[in-house]
């Protein structure tokens, strides 16, 4: 074996070790980069050469770099991420509604009780104008409580509408960026190369997309094909398909696919799914129950009022003004009259009679057409608001825990460990030093060989 051959082995090993050092260096540099997957150097023995019967090793070849990634874990993390952001979207908007239904001096339950308390007080002295005024004020306060609860729900829906528009535009941006990476990655894959940092970048984009909506991913020759959970394509090869939003007839932003088909109700998961779910189901449900309560309570109270006589002896008129339909009742319920004399306390037309007040009081303990007393109906509403928020919070906490575990697994596989890189650094440095020593040794061997004749001549 010639010295030249040995020298070329030493050069190969210098190259291999400096390549390994480069990988280590890059790993250390990206130790805190979100989404970075650690790289390992792929070294391979060179094919041996045969010298007579001897097979002689021909050194090392630097094959390339390989990112240590797990696509399965990555997909699981994406699924958990979309569940968590859906739950978080629900928690954040529902917890803003909670205070409206929390017992305070202004909530509907308290004001309803206050109205019946004022009616009960009036029965001790039906002619007292201050007690009558008390009933009118309590009625006004109840109307205000209905209004503020209803408008809080509407305001929340309006806010969520904006959220839908923002989410859709972010989804479109991300889809564009993912599509742009597809051709490069497909080309690298075809040439047998590892996607490396480009793949990291695409995975991060897909993860961001999962925060917004649930997606399904298929690997194809032209890169990742991505569609929403219901099958609407977002990315196919180098092309991305933009979703659109438009204002629906009900005042809510609808989401449409690139062909213009309404896909609002089929979207699930992610911030967009959670937002739509809260807007169109949770809050819309609460709003319609609130409307039903306002409408039926107002109608029951008016019916009781019609059975009696006002202070001036005329037949009792409506206490509350209600819209013809149930929808919007909580927002448009109003007092029909602010005249204290209009309260139909009397059952016989005389000013001092309180006979009809028992009918008005009975509204509190009589079941509404919906099947429950006003107080129980309201208590049911409070329970729903609470349990919607509590369930979403529990889901968010649970997914956060499982996401942490998945991230631990991923980091265990793909994360950079500074300690590990430090030892690698020493390892490759020592190997490099040793290879360099080989070079200098061979160099001095050359010198010896060159000076063989000279020494003999002198």
């Amino acid at each position: 074996m010639s010295l030249n051959a040995s020298l070329s082995i030493a050069v190969q090993s210098l190259l291999a070790d400096s390549g390994a050092l480069q990988a280590t260096n890059n790993n250390i540099a990206n130790a805190n980069t979100v989404g970075y997957t650690r790289e390992t150097v792929v070294l391979q023995e060179s094919d041996p050469s045969m010298q007579g019967d001897l097979s002689v090793g021909q050194g090392v070849v630097l094959q390339g770099f390989q990112s240590v990634r797990s696509e399965v874990l990555q997909r699981q993390i994406e699924v958990q991420t979309q569940q968590q952001s859906a739950a978080d979207a629900q928690v954040s908007s529902l917890s803003e509604i909670e205070p409206v239904f929390t017992t305070s001096t202004q909530d509907i339950g308290t004001q309803m009780s206050a109205l019946f308390t004022s009616i009960s007080s009036l029965s001790t002295d039906p002619t007292s104008s201050s007690l009558r005024q008390g009933v009118i004020s309590a009625g006004q306060n109840l109307v205000t409580a209905f209004h503020s609860a209803s408008s809080a729900l509407t305001a929340q829906q309006t806010g969520l509408n904006t959220q839908v528009t923002q989410d859709v535009s972010q989804i479109n941006q991300l889809a564009q960026q993912i599509a742009a990476l597809n051709p490069q990655l497909a080309a690298m894959k075809q040439s047998g190369q590892d996607g490396g940092t480009l793949q990291d970048k695409q995975d991060q984009l897909v993860l961001s997309l999962s925060k917004l909506t649930s997606v399904s991913i298929t690997q194809t020759d032209t890169g990742e094909t991505i569609s929403t959970g219901n099958g609407t394509p977002l990315v196919v090869g180098a092309n991305s398909y933009a979703l659109q939003t438009s204002m629906g007839t009900n005042g809510m932003q609808d989401v449409k696919d690139s062909a213009g088909t309404d896909i609002t109700s089929t979207l699930s998961g992610g911030d967009l799914g959670g937002t739509i779910q809260t807007r169109d189901q949770a809050i819309a449900g609460l709003q319609s129950q609130l409307d039903t309560l306002a409408s039926q309570f107002g109608a029951a109270f008016n019916a009781a009022q019609a059975q009696g006589y006002t202070q001036s002896g005329s037949a009792g008129g409506d206490f509350f003004t209600l819209p013809s339909g149930v929808a919007g009742a909580a927002n448009s319920i109003a007092l029909a009259s602010t005249d204290p004399a209009s309260i139909a306390a009397s059952s016989d037309g005389s000013a001092g009679s309180d006979g009809n007040l028992s009918n008005l009081s009975a509204v509190q303990s009589t079941a509404l057409p919906s099947g429950q007393t006003p107080t129980d109906t309201y208590a049911g509403l409070v329970y729903q608001v609470g349990s919607l928020t509590a369930n979403a919070t529990a889901e968010s906490t649970a997914t956060a825990a499982s996401l942490l575990q998945l991230n631990d697994q991923l980091s265990s596989l793909s994360g950079v460990s500074i300690d590990e890189e430090s030892t690698n650094l020493i390892r490759y440095q020592q190997a490099y030093e040793a290879a360099a020593r080989v070079v200098s040794t061979i160099s001095s061997m050359f010198d010896v060989a060159m000076s063989m004749g000279t020494n003999a001549a002198s």
Partner: protein, 295 residues
């Protein structure tokens, strides 16, 4: 298992222990277990019902006290009427003495007339600006002089009795119709008028008859008082019941959303201990790398 970076786990643990610390702190500082509906939706819904019940009990209590005061004023008016009628009977017995001179009877007649006026005044008595014995026509003076009436007075009120709710299923009459007390069973005012007329006429027989009629009226008023008194004692016992109910409800509310302070304080110190343990662990683990030992 290869552990690449303990930072994420540490951050999660610190966050978790901070969360339980803040929950424990909130429970101690507010003395409440349920600070927002979602902390316990069932308790929050029950709280709505319980508070509505409390509001009812409060209004029953206030009605109870109002009605009690009103009935007591009616009772004291009737008590004065009873005293006056007893005097009238005594005077009637004196007037029936045949040895009396006409001028003596005239004097007695004037005294009875005075008693009559005081009885009418009691029958027209007011409570907080409303006539007590006018039925539901509380703004109308119930008894006014009327020459065309045989008794000299007419009743202007009605027979309506107002009921006030003082319990979920308990109502009491809050007023007394004047005609029931003063004219229906026995005509109190008429019997006094008759006595005055009899005394003025000097007929011993008539005086005797009139005095007997007054005794009948006295008995009748007495009976009416018994029914008012029984209402008053009902209200008194209802008051006791309502204050017990109010205590029950408020302890129910404390049980629903409140927190036992001793438990809360224990939870707080536990959370504190856990939190400092987590922080101490993080402080020990995080700064150590291999590089520390390679110098």
């Amino acid at each position: 298992m290869r552990v690449a970076n303990p930072v994420a786990d540490m951050q999660y643990n610190i966050q978790q222990s901070e969360q339980s610390l803040s929950t424990a702190l909130q429970q101690v500082s507010t003395s409440k277990r349920v600070n927002q509906i979602s902390d316990d939706p069932v308790a929050s819904a029950n709280m709505v019902r319980s508070l509505a019940d409390s509001a009812c009990v409060d209004s029953y209590t206030s009605n109870n006290n109002q009605t009690l005061a009103r009935l007591q004023s009616a009772d004291s008016a009737l008590s004065s009427v009873v005293t006056a009628l007893n005097q009238a009977i005594t005077l009637g017995t004196q007037g029936a003495d045949s040895t009396l001179s006409d001028s003596d009877r005239q004097g007695i007649a004037e005294q009875v007339q005075g008693i009559l006026s005081s009885v009418v005044a009691q029958a027209n008595s007011k409570y907080q600006g409303n006539y007590v014995f006018a039925g539901s026509a509380t703004g109308t003076m119930p008894f006014t002089a009327d020459a065309s009436s045989p008794t000299g007075y007419v009743y202007n009120g009605n027979s309506t009795v107002n009921l006030v709710q003082v319990g979920a299923s308990t109502s009491v009459a809050s007023n007394v119709a004047g005609d029931t007390v003063f004219t229906a069973g026995a005509d109190v005012i008429g019997s006094l008028t008759n006595l005055v007329t009899a005394l003025q006429s000097g007929s011993v027989t008539d005086i005797g008859t009139a005095a007997t009629a007054i005794s009948t009226a006295l008995n009748y008023v007495g009976q009416q008082r018994v029914s008012i008194d029984s209402s008053i004692s009902e209200l008194n016992s209802q008051d006791t019941y309502l204050s017990q109910e109010s205590v029950t409800l408020s302890s129910q509310q404390t049980a629903l959303v409140g927190v036992d302070l001793a438990t809360a304080a224990t939870n707080l110190s536990q959370a504190e201990t856990t939190h400092s343990a987590v922080l101490a662990a993080a402080a020990k683990v995080l700064p150590v790398t291999l590089l520390d030992y390679l110098k």
